[in-house]
């Protein structure tokens, strides 16, 4: 029995947004844990409702649009960000049989396409704010995300070559014996770093760079529009974690437990890794970030393709 599409869409929105919201609490509690303090622990059991409280607060904040901003674009930017992330979730296979929007034979390309559109959100926000910090943040974001998109795509080519398909379900099924994290370890590392950069999470959060740019591209945002940037960032974390799970960690596959739980557990562990990175690592300089991308990650991903190709050719029958 397949539920009607509208119900699926609504349920997905609620679940994903709820997940992203709860993630804000999870992140703060984990950061507290790793920094020898408590984190939010007042609202509800263990501070669980902190996210709800924050949500209510942010909803009731003054919805301020600066008089100098480019109004339509200013409003559009956060919506684009949210939309692209949610779209990408559509093709992630949660189990062998079920993904939100079904299986797409070019699923991986679709994901990259929608994530690529996400750049617009950040650049337009920076541009429409009409303020120098926001613009600088937007410019950084554009350069960073476009650059890292290249290696992100290239790094997955190994997986695609091995599988021979762009369909995410095929990719997961191809990992039945061995997760791709082993043969594609180089691709895994490059993809993970590119994923962090793509979601502009610490340590690669230079577009926001609090200590030099105020809050970067969303300096001028407040209220729920800021909230949407916030949530799409967390949804982005989940998305990248889910992608890594799918591409390299065998997706839903695992013994004993039901497949959906395996998928959730792997994704959750990766989310925690994202948070651990934030707790532990300092931010590089902007030029270091770009140098890392073009001078190290790009050659590495190319090397990965060549090596994978060579191995495939050698193994190829005949």
């Amino acid at each position: 029995m397949t539920p009607p599409p509208l119900v699926v869409i609504a349920a997905t929105l609620v679940v994903l947004l709820g997940l992203a919201t709860m993630l804000t609490w999870v992140e703060r509690r984990l950061l507290g844990l790793w920094q020898d303090r408590y984190g939010p622990n007042r609202v509800g059991p263990g501070g669980l409702f902190q996210a709800v409280a924050d949500g209510i607060k942010i909803l009731f904040k003054q919805d301020w649009i600066p008089p100098f901003a480019d109004r339509p674009v200013f409003v559009l930017a956060p919506a684009i960000g949210m939309m692209t992330v949610l779209l990408a979730f559509g093709v992630i296979p949660v189990t062998a049989l079920w993904s939100i929007a079904g299986d797409l034979n070019v699923g991986l390309l679709f994901v990259f396409a929608t994530m690529g559109l996400g750049v617009y959100s950040v650049v337009l926000a920076g541009w429409a704010s009409n303020s120098k910090y926001a613009l600088l943040g937007g410019m950084r974001a554009a350069a960073q995300m476009i650059s890292y998109e290249v290696f992100m795509g290239l790094s997955t080519l190994g997986v695609v070559m091995t599988t021979g398909s762009f369909s995410l379900r095929d990719i997961v099924q191809a990992q039945a014996g061995l997760w791709f994290v082993i043969p594609q370890c180089l691709g895994f590392v490059v993809f993970l770093m590119a994923g962090i950069a793509e979601t502009h999470r610490l340590p690669f959060d230079l577009p926001e760079g609090e200590n030099e740019l105020g809050a970067g591209f969303h300096t001028e945002y407040s209220g729920m529009k800021f909230g949407m940037f916030f949530l799409s960032e967390y949804a982005g974390i989940v998305l990248v974690s889910a992608l890594v799970t799918t591409l390299y960690l065998g997706g839903w596959q695992g013994p004993v437990l039901p497949p959906a739980l395996w998928f959730a557990a792997k994704t959750g562990a990766l989310v925690c890794l994202f948070i651990l990175l934030r707790a532990a690592l300092p931010r590089p300089r902007y030029d270091q970030l770009m140098a890392l991308g073009w001078k190290i990650l790009l050659p590495l991903s190319l090397l990965n393709i060549v090596a994978t190709g060579a191995v495939l050719l050698l193994r190829a029958p005949g």
Binding site: W34, D36, L276, A280, L281
Partner: protein, 170 residues
């Protein structure tokens, strides 16, 4: 690269460490006497106001939240009003450092939240305590050369009796 992984690992290990923060208000922190909390005005050992309205705390205040007006009685200066706007105060303690008479002192009390901002504006009556605070023995007028009731010229510390100006003796 190894350094990054080590950092991650060490940070991860902090999961098992004891927390350095305490769960206020269930647990109350032990604050040292020189903690920089609520500001008070103290009195000298004779029970009189120590503040001489010199305005140095006001000018030292980086957020300009102290205001006062000098008044005078029998040679003693005192503040006609002394106002601290705690809704602006950052508890930096510069005022205490600037005070030449140990009048203004910061105390370990920090529980002074209010729902209405005007309630954070403290006047002299709210600030003045009846004791000497951290410096029990100091009295500015015992040291300074001005004349006040009960202390004539030449009676301060290390002072000679007033000069007879009509004498030309060496």
């Amino acid at each position: 690269m190894f350094g990054i992984l080590r950092t991650l690992w060490l940070t991860f290990l902090h999961m098992g460490h004891r927390r350095v923060t305490v769960g206020y208000p269930e647990t109350r922190p032990a604050l040292p006497p020189r903690y920089r909390g609520r500001i008070i005005l103290s009195r000298d050992p004779d029970g009189l106001e120590r503040c001489v309205a010199c305005n140095l705390c006001a000018v030292a205040c980086p957020v300009d939240c102290i205001s006062l007006q000098k008044a005078e009685q029998d040679g003693r200066w005192y503040p006609e009003y002394f106002r601290i706007n705690f809704s602006r105060c950052i508890f930096c303690g510069f005022c205490e450092e600037a005070c030449p008479t140990y009048a203004i002192q910061l105390t370990p009390d920090f529980e002074m939240s209010e729902y209405v901002r005007p309630n954070l504006v403290y006047e002299k009556e709210d600030l003045l305590i009846s004791g000497t605070g951290k410096y029990p023995d100091y009295s500015f007028y015992r040291v300074s050369g001005v004349e006040i009731p009960g202390k004539d010229k030449g009676e301060a510390e290390r002072e000679q009796p007033p000069v007879d100006v009509r004498s030309l003796l060496p």
